[in-house]
Amino acid sequence: MVNIDIKKATVTEASVSVAWGARLSRPEVIPMYPITPQTHIVEHLAEFINNGEMDAEMIHVESEHSALSAMVGSVAAGSRTFTATASQGLALMYEILPIMSGMRLPGVMAVANRALSAPINIWNDHSDSVSARDQGWIQLWVESSQEALDTVIQAYKISENKKVMLPVMVNLDGFSLSHVYEPVEIPDQGKVDKFLPEYKAEDFLDLKNPKTFGPIGFPSDYMEFKEQQQAAMFEAEPVVQEVAKEFGKAFGREYGDGLVEEYKMEDAEYAVIGMGTLCGTAKDAVDELREKGIKAGVLRLKCMRPLPAERIQKAVKGLKALAVIDRHVSLGFEGPLFTDLRSALYETGLQVNGYVAGLGGKDIKIQHFEKVFNELKEGKKKGGWLL
């Protein structure tokens, strides 16, 4: 649960919270291109700059491909940089995603997750970001407006950690979160400055000390560079936890341990795991099921890449069965999170069911979770699409 001092809170749209998270992190450059449902984020950043409340260079580029390309250049020049996108915009950025991570450039991008066309659909699912999971970006997923703000600030600290040096995607559900108004406590700038000091790049484009960025990697070396990225991804896992803990101390708010949030898991026999706002509905369903005497729980995966496999193995100890809810499907197979988690939990022998739900903004209801928990209780290997 989010610990907010209601007297200090203002009612804020989650997109505005993300903009505040960016503003408080003091990026120097914001290359932007608007796309539904992300537009409010960059609109509010533009307003902050226009009002003289924020000292950042906003670059109006001609496409998302250019937005991320400009971000690569800006970070390579040593500047803290922010951008945001969604859906087709992220798809258009795809070429640059592995370039930014492969060049080990830190930075934060918010993604207001939205379904991919066709058919054209502006509503939420996770197909944009989840299908980009292999491109070397750390992926954090949030459930509330406050968490969106807090996570942007934490994301910079994770990204710029010398052991990590990887870009971070902060994912929030399009509309179901991005356009939702909730009470949000906007942290004090001084406290954020203390938590997140100025970014000082070791390697950056410098006329006085020229370096080459993004050279060719021959077959003799390419795989070794990927090794470095793999190692840095795994190094990021404890860094995510440390940053979450430090943030908790400074601001009084924690979301699980930064990797996974556990809800009523202490004595749970059956649980669901998923990402984003669907977990809020799952928590309500669990409350109802507990009233009927069913020991149900929720695991909310906050960090999908790196996948905290051992952390999840610990969290499922004592469970009789687990259901994975994917808001995306790898067409021709199954939900990718289900594939990941079944693999991560294979050696535990736990029964894991996979469900695909909420594609293109279809509601995920309490009744859906009742059906899922019933199937878990029946002990049969089931799963499928929740329509």
Binding site: G102, D203, K211, G214, P215, D221, Q230, A309
Partner: protein, 96 residues
Amino acid sequence: MNHELSEKAKKLSQGAVIDKPGSTVETKTGGWKTFKPVTNYEECIKCGKCWAVCPEAAYKQNKDGFFEVDLDYCKGCGICAKECPKKCIKMELEEK
């Protein structure tokens, strides 16, 4: 989880950044040629056209004024042989 880096991966720079200029010469780029240029210095007039047209700057003038190719960087394109006014550069199959 963790990934134990190989010895080579430990030595490589982060993000493949090249932090000192001029390191390109350390990369021998001549490995992909099939034919190599061989100059007949009996006929060569030291005009330097091979040096001028070489796209890899692989020719260097020696102290006697003749131009010699550095096969570590020659890619075997044959422009020097084609342009030589004395036709004294022959492309020969390189056997490894």
